[in-house]
Symmetry: C2
Subunit: 319 residues, 2 copies
């Protein structure tokens, strides 16, 4: 198995890549998801794009992995929930894709796959126990225990973004109040910025309102001395640190690895989050924990999905 296909299925686009055993992204493409075309339509257009990618590269894939923004039913391998593409719920996507591609196809949550990618090819190489925290629109998590994803008892471990960090706090997209992702995600920062601008706060963020507000804009204006932007930035990273401290206290991992869009902010973010986590974690589990940035960046979805295929094929050949 020299190459596998990684398929990163999102609500608006599907990213595809052919990944080598060393983690190199040999070839890539992107197609629209066409969420409206139904489960069979979505799946067959992805399979077509995979065949084109393989033909162009002149290579074969030993298998394929698909990362979905949702969950998989361990009993039948079907999609069990996917808020962005409801037509796929209940559909045995891995099985159908396997028929269309003529190779084994594996399906898992995108955050789990991103953790697999970091494990095989990124910041978590050689680690047995770590947590990948993806800070993006939401907060997702992939938990590695004893060198593999810990699935939980019904395949729903790692809903770390919905850990309550402020009882009776801000409303979260999930319908509950005070979830970590309502305080530490990229979208929580943007929502906060919008609502402060709408309330007439004095802030240089106004020039980005409404459509160009981004984590980068908030970080830049904070650095440039805007107090409102700095407050949004500092508060979000404080909560990121608190959530990470909670994971350290519970799981005593070798590392917590920060991925997702916010991680692009790099070292200043890492320093602040690490200091905040350090303040809130117990000294003993904290002592040996490293807080690291994910290494796969924008390719995490594709390479992580390919990593799923590599790991599952390896499991099969070990048996």
């Amino acid at each position: 198995m020299n190459h596998t296909l990684g398929i990163d299925l999102g609500g608006t686009s599907v990213k595809l890549g052919l990944v080598s055993r060393e983690g190199a992204l040999v070839s890539r493409s992107e197609i629209p998801t066409n969420a409206g075309s139904g489960a069979e339509g979505i799946t067959s257009s992805i399979a077509k794009a995979c065949h084109e990618l393989l033909d162009k590269a002149g290579l074969k894939a030993a298998g394929a992995g698909i990362g979905i923004p949702g969950g998989v039913n361990p009993a039948d391998g079907a999609v069990s929930f996917m808020p962005n593409i409801p037509s796929l719920v209940g559909f045995p996507m891995g099985k159908r894709m396997s028929e269309l591609l003529g190779c084994p196809v594996f399906l898992d949550n995108d955050a789990n796959n991103a953790a697999r990618g970091e494990f095989l090819f990124g910041a978590a190489r050689g680690m047995k126990n770590f947590v990948l925290v993806t800070l993006g629109t939401g907060i997702g998590g992939g938990i590695f225990i004893n060198g593999d994803i810990y699935d939980g008892s019904s395949n729903y471990s790692g809903e770390i973004g919905h850990m309550i960090v402020v009882p009776n706090g801000r409303r979260c997209g999930c319908g509950n109040y005070g979830c970590w992702e309502a305080y530490g995600s990229a979208s929580s920062m943007i929502t906060r910025a919008k609502s402060l601008i709408e309330r007439n706060a004095g802030t240089s963020l106004r020039k980005y309102y409404p459509d160009n507000l981004s984590v980068k804009a908030i970080e830049d204006e904070a650095k440039a001395g805007d107090i409102t932007a700095a407050e949004i930035w500092d508060q979000a990273l404080r909560y990121v640190g608190i959530g990470i401290a909670n994971l350290v206290n519970i799981l005593n991992p070798e590392a917590v690895i920060i991925g997702g869009g916010i991680a692009n902010s790099g070292k200043p973010l890492l320093k602040r989050v690490t200091d905040m986590a350090s303040m809130n974690a117990m000294p003993m589990p904290w002592a040996n924990t490293r807080i690291l940035l994910a290494e796969l960046g924008n390719t995490a979805g594709v390479i992580g999905s390919a990593a799923l295929a590599f790991m599952k094929l390896q499991d099969r050949s070990d048996r």
Copy 2:
């Protein structure tokens, strides 16, 4: 290995028991810890009590387990921290006890052992993934993953009592603010009751002040209609439920098992905590999770420590 010794080491007393392979507590005794007598003194008086227990029962022990209110260094098996009995820190208690007893002796944190006890002989029989939450003076945790204690990367997993649930909240014994144990432990309820009485709140709890205040008193007065007591009780169980929901969201366990002194309150407590956890957990990881009361009660320390010995001896014979 028909019997093992379970040794539950506390700050003021040591409980000992001889436990059968079926989990029966065949024989038991209790001695003062004599924390002032130093590591060697404490250890030799426990060994003496073990010999007496075995002689009286006319039985041999295949091994012994010790549960400590603290941590063990995985590198050398020595006690790595124990706030209640500082003289034991750095002392290779398992090794020394093994010399004195003439059988293998194993050492671990008491909450981990309580989880082992529930796994072999109690509420968690047959489960692979569960969390034992001990609600007592503090909140401790033992996390089972794939049928055994998950130790974490440096033997400090399960510090669940220090998960932050209220940023900038009540001061915790650990020195931080807002830890779960400052809101959901037995001592947090008693501290809250004392401070309300001292502030002249109208409450029937006053008759227990200061030395007879207990979780039972608070529960009883709450049931009898005292609004202050009910508020303390309800608030604490609300936080217990929130912390459990966080564990469910992160770990998707088969069950969360509630042990420790508070668990004596039984079914009404279980109902309230379950409802509060249900409100705060994500529907998917929650769907298959059971919230259960621990079954070993007051014997959890001794039987759990004996369970540690049974499990470690089994591991050895499997190798």
